[in-house]
C-alpha cells in the first residue's frame, strides 16, 4: 500500500502550519527566518507530490527554482540581520520598533 496524495498534502499543510506558528510566535529574528525556510520546504513538498501523482515534470522544476530563490534569500536576509545587529545591537523582534514611533 502506497501513501496517497492526500496524505502528502496534509503533511505539507501541517509543516506549513508549524512554520507559520513559529513566524508568529518566536521573537528571535534568526528563528523566525528558520521557520520561513520551513514554510518554503513545505510548499516544495506539496509541489513534488503533485508532480509525481500527475506524472508531469513541472512541479519538480519549480522546486529547483524555489531552492535557488531560497538560497539567495537566505544570503541577503542574513546579511541584513548582521547589518541590523551591528547598528542596533539586538535582533529581538520586539525591540526593533523604530518604524513604529
Amino acid at each position: 500500500m502506497t501513501p496517497t496524495l492526500e496524505s502528502y498534502v496534509m503533511l505539507s499543510a501541517a509543516l506549513f502550519a508549524v512554520g507559520f506558528l513559529g513566524v508568529l510566535v518566536r521573537r528571535n529574528t534568526l528563528v523566525v527566518y528558520m521557520c520561513l525556510e520551513l514554510m518554503l520546504v513545505a510548499a516544495s513538498l506539496a509541489l513534488v507530490a503533485f508532480s509525481r501523482f500527475n506524472g508531469t515534470e513541472d512541479g519538480d522544476v519549480f522546486v529547483f527554482f524555489i531552492l535557488t530563490v531560497a538560497a539567495a534569500e537566505v544570503a541577503v536576509g542574513l546579511a541584513i540581520i548582521v547589518a541590523l545587529f551591528r547598528t542596533r545591537q539586538t535582533i529581538q523582534v520586539d525591540r526593533l520598533d523604530s518604524l513604529k514611533h
Binding site: V48, R52, D60, L67, A71, L78
Partner: protein
Amino acid sequence: MEQLAFTCLSVFTLACAAGVVLSKNAVNGAMCLLLCLAGIAGLFIQLHAYLLAFVLVLVYAGAVVALFLFIIMLLDMQGGQPWRFRGFQAFAGVVAAALLATGLELLAVRGRLADSAPVGYSAGSSLKLYSYQLFTTYLLPVQVMGFLLLIAMLGVIVLSRRTREPEDGK
C-alpha cells in the same frame, strides 16, 4: 511497507519542525531544522525525486543551515523571552490556527484529489529530463534566476560593506 516508511518519515519531520519552533536555544533550532530537512529529503526519495533530494541536502543542509550556524555564532543570542504570547500576536495566532484547521478539515472531508495511483515512474528521476526541461521550456526562468543570484551576491557585498564604512571613518 511504503506506508510505514511514509508514516515514520512524516512523524519524524513534524517532530523536528516542532523542535525548530519550540527550542529555546537557536543552535538547537538549527539542528532540528537540519534533521527536518533530512526527513523531507527522505520523503522526496519516496516520491522518486532523487535529484531533488540530493540538491535539497546539498543546498539546504550543506549551505543554508551552515550559514545559520555561522550567524548564530557571530551574533549574541542571549537575553529576552524566546516566545511572545501577548495581545495581537495571540489573537493572530488563534485566527491563523483556526483558518488552517478549517482548511485541513475541508481538504480531508471534501477534497477530491486525483486517485491515488502515482504515475510517471521514470519521469521524476532522470537528470537528462530535468536538464531538457530547464534548457527548453524554462530557459527564460533559468536566465532570470542567474540574474537574481548575481543581484543577491552584489546586494550582500554592498550590505556588508556599508556597515563597515562608518567604523573606518571614526
